[in-house]
């Protein structure tokens, strides 16, 4: 299925949870925050939160800034 991930279209397998997505991107264990369709998905619910076709997903982190 297709989703929009950090502004780019991406094809991911059906039945992908938020944890699956993060793991498939090599981001497991990193400190990040996830938003799906502008709603925050708490880290504690990553494993049960299923990504749906057409979802807009943002994965963010802290970087240098003033």
């Amino acid at each position: 299925m297709e989703i929009t991930l950090n502004g780019a279209t991406r094809t991911i397998p059906a039945q992908t949870s938020a944890s699956d997505l993060i793991e498939s991107l090599g981001l497991a264990g990193q400190r990040l925050a996830l938003e799906v369709n502008r709603e925050i998905v708490p880290r504690s619910t990553f494993s049960e939160h299923m990504i749906r076709p057409g979802d807009t997903v943002e994965i963010v982190r802290a970087i240098g800034g003033g």
Binding site: L5, A33, E35, I59, V60, A62, G66
Partner: protein, 270 residues
């Protein structure tokens, strides 16, 4: 209770208190514009800062996933992280950024709100800043707000519940120093929350002047990160802040037009 602490006491003398938390350092620093993580770490350490700003941005997908993470050089258990809303031009984007930051930092709710008006000046958009402040305070955030040097707006932001108000000295990254010291003085005199100069400082004397005007602290990034030797400039800024604070507390002499001899007139033998 005495507010004077012994030098060897673990509690800081003359602390900066923000939202009930006491900090030793009155210098707050950003982590942008450094050439690498090692320089970020060294300059941050040399500054002595305890509160350190970070930006929230998209994670790189599929590239450099093993690049060093900022939070490894600025660990949240050692520094108080202050996520900012830099780059936001609407209240909506700023609120969204703060909510993501709170999730990212495990519920940490101290944020630096800045909502910008245009790219050329990076002056704050006060209408959007006020709107975002309202939502964030309602949502339980502890808001340190970037604003212009308008005393009326500074007071309004305090009344809305901001835990600190941070007027600019000059445009972000300009290094022009304090352009309107009288307004900064008025903001300080009216304030019931800490006032920190945020943005526009160029060198240590600018930071000292902010403190001599009575500001509670200074937040800066470019002045340190953009210096020829950022680590040495971080150290200079630390000293400038400390010198300015002591001079403020000591109470400077009034300015007079004519001289006043330092040596006694009595007892001259010539």
């Amino acid at each position: 209770m005495s507010t004077v602490m012994q030098p060897n006491s673990s509690a800081p003398a003359d602390p900066l208190i923000i939202d009930g938390i006491a900090y030793r350092s009155r210098l707050l620093v950003g982590t942008g514009k450094y050439k690498d993580m090692a320089e970020t770490r060294a300059a941050t350490e040399a500054s002595g800062a305890e509160i350190v700003t970070v930006a929230i941005r998209r994670t790189n997908i599929g590239q450099n996933t093993d690049e060093p993470n900022l939070l490894e050089v600025i660990p949240p258990d050692r520094y108080t992280l202050l996520p900012n809303t830099a780059g936001c031009y609407t209240a909506e984007d700023a609120v969204r950024t703060c909510r993501l930051a709170r999730e990212l930092l495990d519920g940490h709710d101290l944020v630096k709100l800045e909502v910008l008006g245009d790219e050329k000046t990076l002056f704050p958009d006060i209408v959007q800043t006020i709107a975002a402040t309202e939502t964030l305070v309602e949502d339980g955030f502890k808001v340190m707000v970037y604003t212009n040097d308008d005393p009326i707006i500074a007071k309004r932001l305090e009344e809305m519940g901001c835990v600190a108000v941070m007027p600019l000295a000059a445009p972000i990254g300009s290094g022009l120093g304090i352009r309107n010291p009288y307004n900064i003085m008025t903001i300080v005199e009216n304030a019931g929350v800490p006032i920190l100069v945020d943005a526009g400082v160029g060198t240590a004397s600018d930071a000292a002047l902010a403190m001599e005007l009575g500001c509670d602290g200074v937040l800066m990034n470019t002045a340190i990160a953009g210096a020829q030797d950022p680590v040495m400039m971080a150290s200079a800024m630390k000293k400038g802040i400390e010198a300015g604070r002591e001079a403020f507390l000591a109470g400077r002499i009034p300015r007079k037009r004519f001289a006043s001899a330092s040596s006694p007139i009595d007892g001259t033998f010539f």
